[in-house]
Symmetry: C2
Subunit: 311 residues, 2 copies
């Protein structure tokens, strides 16, 4: 592939940053890669993994001379990063991010970026429950969506270049306003994470049921929730603090609907339950057909199952 | 393996019944297998799949001469089944079931069973989101738990024989009172299913976010919930109607905890969020260590991912 960016600076090198580094190297779309992490230990891990060409704990140093800068830090750290890199950004540099909320990141970063750069916020909708530079892999973005939320006045050439960058990793790209993104993600990602964290917390604190029982009988459904409830705590704290309005709105809808189900159970209204349960099957079918989920039953777990430690 | 039961009768031949038929045949623990389904079409499917030795739509005919009878129908159909098979059960037969609730099944079935049989309720905590005789497979119960809830006065030899039956399929067996089972499963299975069905329903009915958006961006977390929200609607309607007290109790706990999180988001209390999110990782670790979950990130989906229809 043709080199489209001479120097990519990655600010933050966790699951997402390190996956970008790997995918960028493999695709050949960037010349060199500068890697920054706040922690010296993480920088050393990145170096050991040979994720880039230059390594530093200083964000300003990392972005110097870069024509593409991608900020890959928790949402709550974006303002500090923007303040640190602003004065060092090259003329015409394309600045982007990977945050799970967009309006807040724009509010945090925009004021600190010089007029001579192009800011195009982005969110690759991909991840795993693991975190850190060792958890990344080049295939993470393949067949996943990356949402761009450029301002209406954004430079179209810059948007097109960022689109090509993500497409080089096998991602699909869509554009939408930041506020709409935050609403869509509140229901498809943020509230699901919140209720997963919540049910795992509830189960851990019952007097009637021991933790050992919760773990042994988790195959009844509970274990599915523990995967996303094992996601990075800092990242998710920041998501909820920075997408408050949309999350609270979607949570209110969820609660209304749950109250209706609770009522149906209390009054023995089987028809209401059946009607919902029959409808929801079709949604999964649609997700499988959209190429966003594996078709194998039980996520294909049966095909991977290792011998258990108990056997 | 030594034949431990001369004739196994399976009443109902869906995901669980057909998995038992396959596992029983493979293990050699039963002589012959009689299969019953209410619907002639399902009986024909079972025959085509060669799941047993005798096939009928008549439950009484199926259990005649059987020394082991396992009722594998939705919880709400158990009383009718017990009434139908009661008079035809052989002297000394072991009668069991696979229902996801236990106290209600005991209340439904016990009055219709003759004194000359041994009734030992059971619940294999295993399944997939698929249903019907074609969805079953012999390995479904391997390394999963099967919970027996015999009455205190139950015949210990009968309990031991049923334990050996499930262990022959690679299952682990535990005994507990029916009421405790219903409480444990309410939190590890029933409430997780309810909130999964609920979030999928909520997402399907938003004005602000289209169904197409929900499907495209499902990899943000939502898709995990669609798996269990694709489970059999009749089975799950019956579970909620028949474990009402425990489900409502656990749902109340879930709601209390969720309200606290909602409050933390509204007031920007990041510490409360972080503290919960950091704790829940350990629970998943425990489930993996208990052999009840695969260790691969993202359920190992990446290792199975097919080419999407979109590509």
């Amino acid at each position: 592939m043709e080199v489209k960016f001479e120097r990519l600076a990655l600010i933050g090198i966790g699951l997402i940053g390190s996956s970008i580094a790997r995918a960028a190297r493999r695709s050949g779309i960037v010349g060199e890669i500068a890697i920054q992490s706040r922690r010296a230990e993480t920088v050393e891990t990145a170096r050991r993994l040979a994720l880039g060409d230059a390594y530093t704990t200083d964000p300003a140093e990392a972005v110097r001379g870069a024509d593409l800068v991608i900020v890959c830090v928790p949402v709550g750290a974006c303002e500090d990063v923007a303040r640190a890199i602003g004065p060092a950004l090259a003329e015409g540099a394309l600045v982007s991010d990977v945050g799970s909320v967009k309006a807040s990141i724009i509010r945090q970063m925009q004021p600190h970026l010089p007029a001579h750069v192009h800011f195009v916020p982005a969110h690759p909708v991909a991840g795993t429950e693991h975190s850190g530079p060792e958890a990344g892999f080049a295939e993470l973005f393949r067949n996943r969506w990356c949402i761009l939320t450029p301002a209406p006045e954004a430079d179209r050439a810059a948007v097109a270049r960022l689109r090509a960058f993500w497409e080089a990793f096998g991602a699909y790209v869509e554009e939408m306003p930041a506020e709409h993104h935050d609403m869509v993600l509140a229901i498809t990602s943020h509230v699901p994470h919140l209720i997963a964290y919540n049910i795992v917390g509830t189960a851990a604190h019952l007097e009637e049921v021991t933790q050992s029982e919760v773990m042994k009988f988790a195959a009844g459904g509970f274990r599915d929730f523990t995967r996303i409830a094992a996601s990075d705590p800092t990242m998710w704290r920041d998501v909820f603090l920075n997408n408050r309005e949309a999350v609270l709105e979607m949570l209110a809808r969820f609660n209304e609907d749950l109250t209706a189900l609770q009522r149906a159970i209390r009054w023995g209204d089987g028809d209401t339950l059946f009607e919902l349960f029959a409808r929801t099957r079709a949604i999964r079918r649609g997700i499988i057909e959209a190429g966003q989920e594996v078709e194998a039953p039980d996520f294909g777990r049966g095909q991977l199952a290792a011998d258990p430690h108990k056997a």
